[in-house]
C-alpha cells in the first residue's frame, strides 16, 4: 500500500481483479504520455504514473480506478516525492473528507 498525498494505491491480488477489468477501455494518457490517477482542476498538478500499463476507471469522477503495471512503474507529482511501484494490479483511491450531510474529495 502506497500513499502520495491524497491518493492511496493498494495492491490487488491477481485473482481478486474484477473479470471485466481485462476488457475494459483504458483511460487515455495525458499529453506527456502518462496515466493520470488524479488531476488538480485548478493547479493542473497531477498524480501520474509513467511506464507501461493501463488505467481503468471503475465508477464516478473520482474513482476508484484500477491500475495495471506489467513491469512496475513510478508515481510522480509536482509537490510530492516519487514512489516506485512493483509490477501488478492496484486499486487507486482518492482521499475524502467528512462534511455533515455530504462527503467531499480532498485536493492537495
Amino acid at each position: 500500500m502506497y500513499r502520495q498525498g491524497d491518493v492511496l494505491i493498494m495492491p490487488v491480488a491477481e485473482e481478486a481483479v474484477p473479470s471485466h477489468a481485462a476488457d475494459a477501455r483504458s483511460e487515455p494518457r495525458d499529453a506527456r504520455g502518462r496515466m493520470v490517477l488524479a488531476l488538480g482542476e485548478v493547479t493542473g498538478h497531477a498524480h501520474a504514473v509513467t511506464g507501461r500499463g493501463r488505467l481503468v476507471r471503475e465508477a464516478g469522477p473520482f474513482g476508484p480506478m484500477l491500475l495495471h503495471l506489467p513491469e512496475g512503474g513510478r508515481v510522480v507529482h509536482e509537490e510530492h516525492a516519487a514512489i516506485p511501484l512493483p509490477k501488478g494490479w492496484f486499486r487507486v483511491v482518492r482521499q475524502r473528507e467528512y462534511t455533515p450531510g455530504a462527503v467531499r474529495i480532498v485536493a492537495d
Binding site: 502506497y2 500513499r3 492511496l8 487515455p28 485548478v42 514512489i83 467528512y98 467531499r104 485536493a107
Partner: protein, 334 residues
C-alpha cells in the same frame, strides 16, 4: 487531450475580450447559418447587463436567431459525427473531451443564471421574464465542453468557437447582437467550485459578482466579516453551514488552540481532535503531517474532518480512504 486542455483554459479565461476576433466570430456564425450579418453589435460588461440590454432594446433587435446560429448547427454536427463514429465511438469521443469539462462549466453557468435572476428580484422584475431572456443566450466560453468535443472535426462551428475563445455570453438576434465581456475575477477550488474568502469568487467589469466558499453561495457581507471573526462569533452562529465556513476560514488549528481543545487520541498516523458544538454534531478531525517536506524543510500539517463517531486517529485516516483501520498500512508515504 490537447483539445480538453485548450477548452478548459477557454472556460476559465478572464480579462478583456478580444473584441475584433469575437465580432468576426459572430459574423462568421451568422454567415454559416445563411443569415445576414447583424446590423449592430453591442458590447456589455456582464451577462446581467446583457439581459438588461436585450430587455431594453425590445423589438428593436429583431427575433432571436439562437436556434439557427447555435442549436441547429450543433445538433446537425452531433448527428453527423455520431453517424461517422457510431454510438460507441461517439460515446468515447465525448468521454475524453466534453464530459471532462461538462460538470464544472455547467455548474458555473447555472450559478451565473441563478445570480442574475436573484439580482433582478431586488428590482422586482418577474423571474420568468429574466429566465426567458437567459434561455436565448449562447454561452460563449462556457460552451467549452461541447466545443471541445467537435474541435478539429466541424469547420461549420468555427464562428461559435471563435466567439467562445475570445469572450463570454452573447445574444444573437436578427438585427442586433448583444455580447458580454468575460469575468475579471474567477476563483475556484481544486474541485472547480467557486471559492474565495476575501472577495468575490466571480466578478465582471461592471461589478456584477458572485460570492462563494467551496461552492457554497454566501452573502458578500458574510465574507467581509470573516476577517474579524472571534471564537464567540463562531460559537454564536446558528447556521451550521456558515459556521463550518467560519471554522475553515479561521483555521481549525487556531480554533483548537484558542478554545483549549484537547487531543482525543494520538498514534503513528496522527492526532484526533474533537470540538463539541451546542445544538450540532461535534467536529472531529485528524491532524496529519505531509510526509514530503516543503522547500523550507518544514512539514505541512493539515486537518481532515472525519465522521463524529471516529475514536482513533488511524480510524480517521483510514476512513478518508474508505478503509477499515486494520486494512490501512501504507509502506511508503510522500
Amino acid at each position: 487531450m490537447q483539445y480538453v486542455d485548450k477548452w478548459r483554459a477557454v472556460a476559465a479565461a478572464t480579462g478583456a475580450a478580444d473584441r475584433a476576433e469575437a465580432e468576426d466570430g459572430v459574423r462568421l456564425a451568422y454567415r454559416t447559418a445563411e443569415l445576414s450579418e447583424p446590423e449592430r453589435i453591442i458590447w456589455v460588461d456582464s451577462p446581467r447587463a446583457g439581459v438588461e440590454a436585450v430587455r431594453s432594446l425590445g423589438d428593436g433587435t429583431g427575433r432571436s436567431v439562437r436556434h439557427e446560429v447555435r442549436t441547429q448547427p450543433w445538433a446537425q454536427e452531433r448527428r453527423r459525427v455520431h453517424d461517422e463514429l457510431g454510438p460507441v465511438g461517439y460515446a468515447e469521443l465525448w468521454a475524453r473531451t466534453g464530459a471532462r469539462l461538462w460538470d464544472t462549466t455547467r455548474a458555473l453557468s447555472e450559478r451565473i443564471r441563478t445570480g442574475i435572476v436573484e439580482s433582478f428580484a431586488r428590482e422586482l422584475v418577474e423571474e420568468s421574464e429574466v429566465r426567458s431572456v437567459l434561455l436565448d443566450a449562447v454561452l460563449g466560453q462556457h460552451d467549452a465542453a461541447w466545443l471541445a468535443a467537435f474541435d478539429g472535426r466541424s469547420p461549420r462551428l468555427e464562428g461559435l468557437a471563435r466567439v467562445a475563445e475570445h469572450t463570454g455570453w452573447w445574444w444573437p438576434h436578427e438585427k442586433v447582437t448583444v455580447i458580454c465581456e468575460r469575468p475579471v475575477e474567477l476563483h475556484r477550488d481544486e474541485a472547480g467550485r467557486l471559492d474565495r474568502g476575501d472577495g468575490p469568487a466571480l466578478a465582471f467589469p461592471d461589478g456584477f459578482a458572485l460570492h462563494a466558499w467551496r461552492g457554497m453561495p454566501v452573502p458578500a457581507k458574510f465574507l467581509s466579516d470573516l476577517a474579524h471573526l472571534t471564537l464567540e462569533r463562531i460559537r454564536a452562529e446558528e447556521n451550521a453551514e456558515l459556521r463550518r465556513v467560519m471554522l475553515e476560514y479561521y483555521g481549525y488549528d487556531r480554533y483548537l488552540e484558542e478554545s483549549g481543545a484537547q487531543p482525543v487520541h494520538r498514534d503513528e498516523t496522527g492526532v484526533l481532535w474533537r470540538i463539541e458544538l451546542d445544538g450540532d454534531e461535534p467536529v472531529v478531525m485528524v491532524e496529519v503531517v505531509n510526509s514530503t517536506p516543503e522547500p523550507d524543510g518544514s512539514n505541512r500539517t493539515y486537518w481532515l474532518r472525519v465522521p463524529p463517531t471516529t475514536r482513533t486517529a488511524k480510524e480517521g485516516v483510514a476512513w478518508t480512504f474508505g478503509l477499515n483501520p486494520d486494512a490501512y498500512e501504507p509502506v511508503t508515504q510522500t
